[in-house]
Symmetry: D2
Subunit: 286 residues, 4 copies
């Protein structure tokens, strides 16, 4: 193994068929690549095959050309195929409102070298986090949103995503719903985080409701945003214990910690090309 060779990471999914693992491994082997990791999964009920494969390419080859060639190969065997060049840094936009816990957490992890990406822009419907963004050296754009201006605001947001050449939007406690028009037009992934309870609570002030119901657990769920609010494919979930001694304020504080950790984990898996989505659920090759 030549550890410093450029690497490619491919995610494949499609109808199950005999010999898929062999075909993929052969393609790589014949082009002098070396598989570093490979993980497969089959959904037997749906008859779908999933694979994540990471390999070192031959020194003589260009990563970009190999990636293109693999995509063609994936097509030829009937698989939906994504290929990323290891070391490529997707551009990320953070959408925020006033709450800052996920905002700081993501940026500090990024600065610590945990996230292979570039946080290229912060977009907010409030001015609250402007000075912090500036201190971190990240461009900040204020796009106010009201009921009346929502479609204009979303047009502005889409223009910013284009201008900054964004690959991933993270809703880091952004308190507006993104319309299905926005999501369709944008067409790339959006990761969101929200609180979760057992049992679930609809409506406003969920922590107050959870406290009133006397739940013994609170949770957080990170998922891909879809037009169906908070019902997109689940990436990660975590919970923490609650007792009668905890006030609503404690619940909110514990909820913040859950949200930070759960969102950071989901973002990390996404950036490492570990997530495949199908039938509104995820396969996470962790």
């Amino acid at each position: 193994m030549i550890p410093d060779s450029p690497r490619l990471i491919a995610l494949l999914s499609g109808p199950d068929q005999k010999g898929l693992v062999s075909k993929v491994a052969n393609w790589i082997y014949e082009r002098d690549g070396n598989i570093i990791h490979a993980d497969q999964h089959r959904d037997h009920e749906e008859g779908v095959f999933f694979q994540r494969v990471e390999w070192a390419i031959a020194d003589s080859r260009s990563p970009r050309e190999e990636a293109d060639a693999f995509r063609d190969f994936g097509d030829s065997i009937g698989m939906r195929t994504k290929v990323a060049v290891n070391g490529a840094k997707p551009k990320v936009a953070l959408f925020v409102s006033k709450a800052d816990h996920c905002f700081h957490d993501l940026i500090l992890r990024w600065k610590a070298g945990d996230f292979p990406c570039e946080i290229a822009v912060v977009v907010s419907n409030h001015q609250t986090l402007k000075s912090s963004a500036v201190h971190y050296g990240i461009p900040f754009h204020h796009v106010p949103v009201t009921k009346e201006t929502k479609s204009d605001a979303e047009a502005n947001q889409l223009a910013l995503l284009k201008r900054y050449d964004i690959d991933l939007v993270i809703m880091a406690r952004y308190m507006q719903v993104l319309s299905s028009i926005f999501l369709d037009t944008w067409g790339k992934p959006v990761i969101n985080i929200h609180h979760s309870f057992l049992p679930a609570f609809a409506g406003a002030k969920p922590y107050h409701q959870a406290h009133k119901k006397g739940v013994k657990l609170i949770g957080a769920t990170a998922h891909y945003a879809t037009a169906d609010l908070d019902q997109g494919p689940i990436i990660h979930q975590a919970v923490t214990q609650i007792t009668h001694r905890n006030s609503v304020r404690d619940l909110i504080r514990k909820g913040r910690d859950l949200e930070r950790l759960t969102l950071a984990q989901a973002v990390s898996w996404h950036l490492e090309n570990r997530i495949l989505v199908y039938e509104n659920k995820t396969v996470v090759f962790d």
Copy 2:
């Protein structure tokens, strides 16, 4: 402290008022008792006070008389009051169907000395667990339940609870709903266990639904049974992580472990007189 003196455990709840802790402590002190543990809680929004106090009574006094006297004292200060004599062993009935994981678990813990109670009878709508109950030396009664015979069956069950002088019913995966008439007539606590999901799933085959939705956590909730199915006061909740690699069968197996542990913890707290119920929720003095 005289560790071998008889002990009383009292649970008090009622409208908050100044000096409650002091009044209770004084009552005990003046009768030569010694407080071993005491734990208080206030629900500030509801203005309710809760206390669990455990004390060694003076050697010269009778536990039963002291318990009665404390109940009278509780009344006199406007508190709902329960008093248990430490070492008294409440009688428990296990309601079961075919599933045996909670059944074995509870009995083995009891035989290991973990539960201060007597498991006096097993009642089931099936014959499946009869021979195991007999091996454990516990009387087993088969009370079949059909739609038509339900009210008769419940009358039989109530007669058994009376005959065995039962203090607590545990639904150890008993797959029938107890009617509100049963619960009202019986009038003593019933602990139930059920699975929990984020998000929640209504209807049949919840593990299949959870698998289809791609949840990353499954959970179990132990609660007191009330006429409002699965909506009674929550005692304890636990969860475990799930991945795409887990089959429906894995989910069911992991669910069984959660159910065993969650139910056993709830039963343990109940038997140690650690739980107070109000406003459809619990205070657990763990």
Copy 3:
């Protein structure tokens, strides 16, 4: 995929080399097999490659012959190779002393269909669990052990393992150390469970020491037994929270739950051929 075809599960490990994934996949493909799961791992520092691969063999072929052929193939590419036929049920011996929590737990899981094995015999240095073993319908052998008789006792144990054609020994709280002579002679896997603490405690009564030190966590570790006591390759570890309110008795009780769950998980992974051992550590393809 033909779900009802016989399946093989192979575990391979050995020096890393280019094209291993491809070679294995091809071998299977060329013999009309179909890979159901495959998982690889590389230890980059040690330069070792690990693979677990599960495949459905062609209907026309015999599982046993395919298994033999794959072993030969594994040899030919320089890999240490184990092959199991799916559905084959290895024979297990439980070694126990007086404590019964792991004993009951393992047997009940096995009876619930969780473990693909046959629990063929219980061996104990005490008579305590004899009647329970008999009730479960499992042969029980009493082999007393004293300092003086230890080597004779181990000879008896080895004879029993041979007589029952045992593949795996589980020390389910068996409170004797197995000598290195026993382990060498036996030559097959032994799974053990022991408590774990942060910090660690040497010597007797570890729960008393942990309580005295005021630890906030207790744990359990399942591992393969080696001549170096409690230092064999770790399979699984779990912990639970402790507070100052917990007595030594509580710690022991919580420790029992940890031991049961941790040992059951380790046994499950072993029986599903998910564990590879090297350099005194494990790769667990969960």
Copy 4:
């Protein structure tokens, strides 16, 4: 209850004796105070009594005078007694080196209103975190430490603690050992955080050792610093699961998350006056 009355929080510990709960409750009641929370614990083996009591004082009284009076009362009944006025904000010094994860985490929680304290100064043996401290508006002092200058450096640190009127030192990944002379001279609490493993590893590069050993859990322990390195009273411990797929770098990253959360929880309990120390262990009234 008058929620806006000033509150006092007292921590008492000392030889167990009959009537302690009653005496404390009476003292408060007779001075028109109202107990909001009270929690007791007895170490039966050591014969020591512990109490945390929080009460609203009468409007007519001065918090400071009541606190002094309670201290005198505590002395009179033979109890070691600390009293804090609710809302008083102890002054905190952060000791840091180059690692910034605990540093940012503590400051952001403080700015979010989670910690009732004032972070008054950052002291470091490196310049690395200077600009961040300045951005947060917290004075930063660089006190380099070498083997030769250690005692001078500690004298400088002590002078800073005095100058800023510090009540609590938090070692937020400060990579120097504080000498017993420093700790004795300082005489107030120091909270430290360190990684923990099962089994434990001595010497350098513990994450590398843990990886080599193949542990399945890593942990973090927050404790009060004492002259006996990393052996002070444990406040809080947490762990996270590890698999063979995790690199040393993953372990370090997961360790950082554990350290942040564990230290933050310990600091929170300390600042809310929830911790009593005795016999080198803690009682945490959470």
